[in-house]
């Protein structure tokens, strides 16, 4: 029983973080090269918004599922339906582009 609980916990833990990862220092630096005002905090805020607002309509997609060029099109299409304002849209988009493969 103990082995089962340990295995289940490890399995769930392994599935948890990486799907919607927090931005790394390298990704923050890369984003700052494109948008100088970006901080680690603003990218983390974008991640929180992505999790809370986009999951209301569909299961979340990992940032790695689309390229940095594809995300603006997808977020632009979704934003009106999710009632995202311009600031929320920008924060979400910057997080997704920063973490997505180039």
């Amino acid at each position: 029983m103990r082995t089962f609980i340990l295995t289940a916990t490890l399995l769930l833990g392994a599935c948890a973080g990486p799907q919607i990862p927090p931005p790394t220092a390298v990704q923050v630096t890369r984003a700052q090269a494109r948008w100088p005002e970006v901080t680690g905090q603003s990218l983390a805020h974008g991640r929180n918004l992505y999790v809370s607002r986009c999951s209301g309509c569909h299961l979340l997609h990992a940032p790695s599922e689309h390229t940095a060029d594809e995300w603006p099109v997808l977020v632009g299409k979704m934003a009106p339906r999710a009632h995202l304002d311009a600031t929320e849209r920008t924060l979400i988009l910057r997080y997704l582009i920063a973490v997505a493969p180039p």
Partner: protein, 267 residues
């Protein structure tokens, strides 16, 4: 129709469905088992429920209809209002078949999301529903859990229900405890197929009366602004039944076959 033509039609249907990208409504992939997702604040959706319940010892067909209006309240909270109706045709005596149609009250639902099935280790949520009709009051509470792992989606609910039925002589109280479990595989971004299992237990006057078991396939399709999900759930041999049941299933309180179709549009 030839096998080749059937295959061609199925292939064409799958190709159309596979063209769907991500969805834009608060999609559900199961019809009995709830997931933890809640609508974003201010977003509204209309959900139409149809639940055929077919077969008892004698002829019995019942359709439950629900019209649900949903709205997102905060990032974690949504609420909805249901209008309920039911139509029943049944043999009430040898050679006597009767049909009835009645308004079955209104329901208020509240759902609170604690964690996400993709971003967190497990998705968790709470659900509460209050139903009032002309002769019955019902309170329902659910604990919701779900998890997506790759193309597989799992969901489970623990359901507690308290009912009071107002009879001429007395008020009958009844408790129901349900365990729902579902799993589905994503064939494409828009199409999932899977299975749902439902175990429903009835407790009256402190006695555990029966434990009925249903299981069957579920399919869902999501598209821009709308989604649909359907389940077919035959009743399996009961885990526990009362002595008055003649067969292996619980037909005094349930039917041989249940099915449910959910159709939803963002408005």
């Amino acid at each position: 129709m030839s096998v080749r033509r059937t295959f061609a039609l199925l292939s064409a249907a799958l190709a159309i469905f596979s063209g769907a990208s991500v969805a834009h409504a608060n999609e559900r992939h199961f019809t009995y088992t709830y997931e933890t997702g809640v609508l974003p604040p201010g977003v509204k959706e209309l959900e139409i429920w149809t639940t055929p319940r077919i077969g008892k010892d004698d002829y019995f067909v019942r359709f439950d209809q629900r019209m649900e209006f949903e709205v997102g309240v905060t990032d974690n909270l949504m609420t909805s209002l249901y209008l309920n109706a039911k139509a029943v045709t049944a043999d009430v005596a040898p050679g006597v078949r009767e049909s009835t149609y009645e308004f079955d009250g209104v329901s208020s639902e509240w759902k609170y999301k604690l964690s996400d099935p993709v971003a967190d280790a497990i998705g968790l949520g709470f659900y509460g529903e209050f139903t009032g009709s002309t002769n019955e009051v019902e309170i329902e509470a659910k604990i919701l859990a779900d998890k997506q792992i790759g193309n597989l989606l799992f969901a489970g609910n623990l359901v507690f229900e308290q009912e009071w039925e107002f009879e001429p002589e007395e008020t009958e109280a009844e408790q129901v405890v349900d365990l729902d479990f579902a799993a589905a595989y994503a064939l494409s971004p828009g199409v999932r197929i899977g299975v749902e299992v439902r175990n429903t237990n009835e407790i009256a006057e402190g006695e555990w009366e029966h434990s009925a078991l249903f299981a069957g396939p579920v399919v869902s399709y999501v598209a821009d602004g709308w989604w649909v999900a359907a389940t077919l759930m035959p009743q399996l041999p009961a885990l526990k039944k009362s002595d008055e049941e003649t067969g292996s299933r619980v037909l005094s309180a349930h039917e041989k076959l249940e099915a449910r179709l959910l159709l939803s549009f963002q408005i």
